[in-house]
Amino acid sequence: MEPSKITRRDFIGGVAGAGALATLGIKEAGAQAEPAGTIPADAIKAEKSKAMQWHSERPLTGSVPAHEHDFDVTPTDRMFVRNNLLIPDIDFKTHRVKITGLVGNELEFSMDELYKAFSAVTIQGMLECAGSGRSAYAPRASGTPWLETGGMGCPSWGGVRLADVLKAAGLKPGAAHVAGQGGDPGMVASAAPVIRSIPMRKAMDDDTLIAWAMNGQPLPRVHGYPLRLVVPGWVGSASTKWLHTITVLDAPFKGTYMSSSYVTPRVPVEPGQKMPAETVSTEGWPVKSMITSPAPNARLKAGTQATVRGRAWVGEGEVERVEVSLDEGKSWQRAQLWRSESGKYAWRRFTYDFTPARAGYTTLVARAWDSAGNVQPAIPAWNPLGYFWNGWHRVGVVVEA
């Protein structure tokens, strides 16, 4: 179904599905010992693709490897999962979102009211966890051991523009940052709420959404049902799930998820060192690409044409070109880069046709360049929290005679 054609009936469908899941949640709560009002990990895992590789049950984190990402639009059941806290069981009918802070009029909407008050838009946009690729760093940094190519996806998102809602509320002078807060609870009451803020220029971007739909269906619970921010191209933590409050601020939000997490050293540090005092907040992803076909250890035939296919993206700006090397980076050939019609923050497909000449083990390496002249490095700068891995992606295949 076309995401732009999401109907009120889909919303009701979402509510019915949620009810079934809630029942399952109660049944499993005894074994899982998750607090009341949260969805157990097993119920979420059952909804996702068998290709998902789970890194942790609590908090629930998982993704599919690169060769399971060979789609122009990431299917919902292959979208990565990463939470800081637990997954709340929220009632669509009573859920409300409030716009407060440096605004002329404080606003509050039910789901129905939000749907009626603004024009609905659909975009395709990348979301990628800041730590995606972390396990490729040496030495290993603290945090979820995402695969070199794990922790990202590019589905379509439906909702309203955050800019439209902010304009309706009216920004007061000095409004500079917008913070999202969601309803995910922790295991203890003392758990700090996950609050992140984004600068106004990104909040006002046409592709930054308050979203209720993913790939034309109501958001799945684990992806923020019933409402979330979508801040495409930026680290995933900016895209607050289970959104209930939007606060306009005169400066970046001050809190642990802004100051102690999701930061990188202002000046690169020696690998293995602790975070220096001077840090910068993580925002857009640097240019990145991955080979989605062939799969590692695929069998190719000497003298027969084969295609390297993959996806390339960058947090801000445009992917300018993608290159493929069949000799470990000694020489690079330009791949064909396909245009995406569905959003400036959507990943783009690339393909490179070649005919392997000799039998034996061969590596395929890809790297992308962006419109600002940045290129993926072989190995990016180490940082204490292992963020922004965008090293060359390398896939080994076997060429048979």
Binding site: G30, A31, Q32, A33, P35, A36, G37, A41, S56, E57, R58, P59, N84, L85, P139, R140, A141, S142, G143, T144, P145, P185, G186, M187, V188, A189, S190, A191, A192, T256, S260, S261, G272, Q273, K274, M275, P384
Partner: protein, 184 residues
């Protein structure tokens, strides 16, 4: 009987939490109990860090809301920097000597993270031990209900603040805590 069957079932279905342990050593019990309130211990086991990174990590976890005192953080940092150090191999497992000393009941409560949220006479995050005892006074089913509460965690009896489950607490220790509580 029904209760013990239920408890056993609970222990065996907690996704490996019960058998999940860090290398035994001074501070290992406290470290296990604080860290697994919110996440699995594999987060520690799979990425040994430098002492400085562990210090940052603990500060971060405290900011995120882990109920632990400065003194407890110091014990945990010393433990992690020795047993999960990126640059030095871990020493051989040894008894957790820091789990001993002082009042054994106090030790048990601290080692299991109870004292992060409960105090004898005043409400902290959760109710005072005395308030709990008073609530269950004269109730014949109190022991069984309390044991289940402690084992499974709960929410609602004292407000909306959830109490985390304690799958790692042994059955004898659980019984000790319950009888101690009811005698307060």
């Amino acid at each position: 009987m029904r209760l013990s069957v239920f408890l056993l079932f609970g222990i065996f279905t907690t996704g490996g939490f019960a058998q999940d342990h860090l290398i035994p050593g001074p501070g290992s019990t406290l470290t296990e109990n604080k860290c697994r309130i919110c996440h699995e211990l594999q987060h520690i086991q799979r990425s040994p860090l430098s002492r400085g990174e562990w210090a940052d990590n603990l500060k971060n976890m405290k900011e995120r809301g882990t109920p632990m005192t400065e003194a407890e953080m110091a014990v945990i940092l010393d433990y992690l920097a020795v047993y999960y150090n990126r640059d030095k191999p871990a020493p051989a497992p040894s008894p957790d000597t820091l789990a001993g000393g002082g009042d054994p009941m106090q030790r048990l409560l601290e080692a299991n993270g109870c004292t992060g949220c409960h105090a004898p006479d005043r409400k902290v995050v959760g109710p005072a031990f005395r308030e709990i005892a008073a609530k269950y006074a004269g109730d014949a089913s109190a022991a069984a209900r309390l044991a289940q509460k402690i084992r499974q965690g709960g929410q609602g009896a004292w407000g909306n603040v959830p109490m985390p489950p304690n799958p790692g607490l042994s059955d004898p220790d659980l019984q000790s805590v319950v009888s101690w509580l009811l005698k307060k």
